[in-house]
Symmetry: C2
Subunit: 417 residues, 2 copies
């Protein structure tokens, strides 16, 4: 069963017949990124609160009637989604806001939210009979694709810029991907993958291009809403690189709103690093999006030419949200804060949402009496080099109690003494 009605081009706004392997608008070409539209009236009869109440599928596929997939192979996949949503009481108190939730996407199989998009890509590739899947990525999209392709017996060819951190590259190679490290930045990497995918006819998992992938990402919003009994928070904060994740978050809430399952779409705060902030620059200046430098430690959102500007900008505009930028230093501090206050260890792009929330509270974009969900997009173990920058090396002591007592005394930690 599928409730997919048609595509609609985000550029020319024309409705386009839904075909499984259509990627972009036939009229607008590569810029014509497509939305998937559903028959909400038909979907409503099937998908209601009761449907979820009786579901025993605790993965992203519990939302299969809201996705453009044949769920035949879904049960054989690694478990993606239905990640925990934590009520972050200690952090909420320290920030002085009324309610704070954290969606922990680091516990997905390949340790990031990107598993949701890659899960859809791999299901689609299997459905359509492809043997090889491919993408370019700063890391998480790639490792998630390699992970799920491996589990389902597909080959993967992955294009990465040479700056990708060690943890992410290891993942790709361990998963048996054919990894092409590109001697250039993300733009060069994307371009080569595009040419190669066309040339070899592989299944394309580039998130901006493939309209199915945002549908996978939207499941994070569906879960947030359901986990809050369909009363989502006033704001949802998420870091922004390519723009596909925030677009997916918006689409999830949009679908639920169309189905009458939620009464409002949360305001979306899209956060970038000041070292790479094309969306923020365009938002502040009200000018078209321009290419930006890629100069941030948060490699997952270091995207100078976002491939999904329309959907991302629309997500913020239509949700009455905002874009803002935070410094890399603030990102590193947030890594330590999220870890030590809540026991959640995020990679730089994963904790950027917390830094953004703090910035938004400071400048009044978010009010203390509003409720907030932070999407923590990827596990901190993915980027040990930057995690090390966020902490001080531990003290090295000889194995003697006297030395320890001396250290504890010097530390002046009365509660320990």
């Amino acid at each position: 069963m599928s409730f997919v009605k048609q595509f609609r081009c985000t550029v020319c706004n024309q409705a386009i017949e839904y075909k499984e392997d259509t990627m972009t608008c036939p009229f607008c070409g590569e810029k014509g990124i497509l939305d998937i539209e559903y028959d909400y009236e038909a979907m409503k009869k099937f998908v209601d609160k009761n449907f979820f109440k009786h579901s025993d599928d605790f993965s992203m596929w519990r939302y299969y009637p809201m996705l453009p997939i044949d769920k035949k192979h879904a049960s054989q996949m690694l478990k993606i989604g239905w990640t925990p949503l934590y009520h972050a009481k200690r952090l909420e108190k320290s920030l002085g806001i009324s309610a704070l939730y954290i969606k922990d996407e680091g516990v997905n199989p390949s340790a990031s939210l990107k598993d949701r998009a890659s899960g859809i890509a791999v299901l689609k590739a299997l459905e359509l009979g492809y043997h090889t899947v491919s993408c370019s990525s700063t890391g998480n999209a790639a490792s998630s694709l390699a992970c799920h392709a491996a589990h389902m017996g597909l080959k993967s060819v992955i294009f990465v810029p040479k700056r990708a951190p060690i943890g992410k590259l290891n993942q790709l190679l361990i998963y048996g991907a054919n990894v092409i490290s590109v001697d250039g930045d993300y733009k060069d990497t994307f371009q080569l993958s595009k040419l190669a995918i066309e040339h070899y006819g592989w299944y394309n998992r580039n998130a901006a291009i493939n309209p199915n992938l945002v549908e996978g990402k939207k499941t994070v919003a569906l879960e947030i809403a359901e986990q809050l009994n369909f009363n989502p928070t006033d704001w949802v904060c998420v870091s922004v690189g390519d723009g596909c994740t925030i677009a997916g978050v918006y689409k999830g809430f949009y679908d639920l709103y169309q189905l009458g399952l939620i009464n409002k779409i949360p305001r979306l705060l899209g956060i970038q690093s000041t070292g790479c902030s094309p969306f923020v620059d365009a938002y502040i200046t009200s000018k078209p999006l321009k290419e930006a430098d890629e100069n941030t430690i948060a490699d997952s959102i270091s995207v100078g030419i976002p491939r999904n500007p329309i959907k991302a900008q629309r997500a913020v505009l239509e949700s009455n949200g905002a874009f803002l930028a935070v410094t890399d230093d603030h990102i590193l501090k947030s890594m330590k804060k999220l870890g030590s206050k809540e026991g959640i260890f995020g990679e730089p792009a994963g904790v950027t949402a917390l830094a953004g929330l703090e910035e938004a509270l400071k400048n009044g974009v978010i009010k203390p009496n509003e409720s907030v969900t932070i999407i923590m997009t990827g596990h901190g173990l993915k980027d040990p080099i930057n995690a090390q920058k966020a902490v001080k090396a531990p003290v090295l002591l000889k194995p003697k109690l006297e030395d320890l007592k001396q250290y504890m005394k010097e530390k002046g930690d009365k509660k320990h003494a």
Copy 2:
């Protein structure tokens, strides 16, 4: 409600009254590690298949009536357990065995099975009014304790040997633990932590000493059994360091057997590295366990003086199982194999169970017609240095399609061309 009946000392076999903060046998001292005994007849009336069928708690706390805890704080914890059990069809086929399942413990909050023991420790510490928890650990026990302590607002003091890999140290520090890096090996580290815990009166999370922790670890066996509809596999394979994990696995199956929920206890295969194999040496020579070198890349099981020899040896003996050792080289090959065949990325000690299964099939300890579960104990992202040893660096190409075509041609991969 608690069905705890009493302690029983593993050395002198005496029954000892259950008190919340008793750690070891009052007659035998530190060597007198305690078992927790339950009133199975009373437990039976409460815990049956129906109980689990109607449980909506998808974490380790779904087994609360089988644990020595007050579950008051459990719902506020990070989500531990109810990790996926995958039917590993592709690996099963390549190994030529009748059925193979993989329990993926890498998706726990701090990315290892140790979360199960630390979860119990933190709950107990809260229950008993402690403010600080402490342990010594090669890494995973420590990072899991720091993680869950942080989330619940406890302080943690962690003793680590200086060789602990970067990913694990970062985790501790990010979680805000007070980390004491000990200039010595695991034995020195353990000894200092023992003295400090006594001196300062912190809650002791050293797994061998604290009898509650094996009860936490047993939940992995409870889940394996339940996920297989209470028909566990003929064998369960798990790597062995201190001995506490295999002891927990045995205890879980033992409890289920006492409750009549399973008909047999699976045979347990305990696997060590040839670089540190005190259990295997004792098993092969039928002599008492002796101190061994600590010379393996699998740092989580690099334990020269295991602190839980009795429970671990009993687990293998009473389950009619076996101990065996595999080389570090085999462990690295298994890391790549598990990743590329099943999309599961494990740290060295996590994939050691796969290497052990292969070894056991080779030497006839496990027969091809037997069914097997592998416990994958920790995520590969925890140890990027060793993961890198398991793979070849990717090719670096200029961003030109012609260069890529040349590379693909040289690679001779016809399916891609």
